[in-house]
Symmetry: C2
């Protein structure tokens, strides 16, 4: 029988956003597994937890090389899943750490699916984490939504027609993965026929954290990886 796999959300980037449950879990497992964006790259999630883990915990970096190729992505995930499976089958409990929340746009899902395809009996426990959206609004005291307002979260902006339909239905729209989605969003917003306030959160919680509420300023700069944009319609 396999040992247990924990998916631990470590929040957006500050140790203080860890939950008590995340701390307890990370201090109990045999292995902390952390994704990196490539060989010799730092792990953001590891920086968040390094203060609280003890000498008992082994750390294992898993190389999640960034690639647009679906084939390479699959290969990378398969390799990581095999490495995790190997540890679990040796009876080692493992915590896979992800920034934000493990079930909200993270790679944890893919790993669980791949390991379950080897052993459907895999024991999994997910520890929720603070999302970058919550941390971004908190840092700016901006209500994301209240009362009867509806909220849209877009990971993929397709075209103007889609954005137009979304803004007709929702009072608040959050655009994730902004570096990929900014061009279309900017074109739409700069021609929008409604009033709005906005908030860019870039690398929220990390040392280079940056916020802006000015569309021109945002457009003039480079949109960093790990950026999101919150747009609230004003009636």
């Amino acid at each position: 029988m396999l040992a247990k796999l924990y998916g631990v959300g470590v929040g957006p980037g500050k140790t203080e956003f860890l939950t008590l449950k995340a701390v307890k879990t990370l201090q109990q497992v045999d292995y902390i597994l952390t994704p990196t964006a490539g060989e010799n790259k730092n792990s953001t999630a590891l920086l968040v937890v390094k203060e609280i883990i003890t000498e008992q915990q082994q750390i294992k970096l898993l190389n999640f090389k960034m690639s647009k190729s679906v084939h390479i992505q699959q290969q990378v995930r398969k390799k990581a899943a095999a490495e995790i499976y190997h540890l679990l089958s040796q009876g080692k409990s493992c915590a896979f750490i992800t920034i934000g929340d493990p079930l909200f746009y993270s790679t944890f899902n893919y790993l669980v699916e791949l390991i379950k395809s080897r052993d459907p009996e895999l024991l999994v426990e997910t520890i929720p984490g603070i999302t970058a959206i919550s941390a971004c609004t908190a840092a700016n005291n901006l209500p994301l939504a209240a009362g009867k307002e509806n909220t849209a979260i877009l990971s993929k902006v397709k075209n103007k027609k889609q954005l137009s339909a979304v803004f007709k239905l929702f009072e608040t729209v959050v655009i994730l993965k902004l570096s990929q989605n900014f061009k279309q969003t900017y074109q739409f917003l700069s021609q929008a026929e409604f009033n709005y306030q906005l908030l860019l959160g870039s690398r929220v919680g990390l040392a280079e954290e940056f916020f802006s509420q000015n569309l021109s300023e945002i457009a003039a700069g480079e949109i960093q990886y790990l950026s999101l944009l919150i747009i609230k319609k004003i009636s």
Copy 2:
């Protein structure tokens, strides 16, 4: 000058979902302010924090009597804001605790607005919290969304046309305040021409926590206050 007002998200209902920052803040303030649904009612948020607060902290219940009347709601909020203002103006630091996240469909926003209208210089700090959505998906290891999927969060279900438009645009739809929104949602889903999986989370994190993935079972029971429904389209 007023003392500082903290809005502290305590997560959906378990002490273990508190963040390190929430714990630290709650143990430092003079007053813990907690909403109740009426006189002599328990405070859910207070139950979550009672293990971690110390004898130094004063506790103050604020009566947020539930009412459909906008006028009564406003009166209740004004009275609570006046009580908080009184403490702040005496130099007492205050933490207003809310289940979930203070900026995601909570009453914290209204209080801040009301107190700021008395003193625009009010110092506010928001501490984000785990939402019921994250806790609900975590308890069931259900990926809310991944990759290029988009997510809709509805606090108000209007009609079939709205739901139809939302499900055309989004892969995942979360319905909050389900006790108010279930009737229309059920009518829509029971006639839907697409496949979906669903997850009801009712009073997530609390003693009476209940989950169901079966629409008929959900429809046969009573929808509790503090319930949400996650619907994921299956292609």
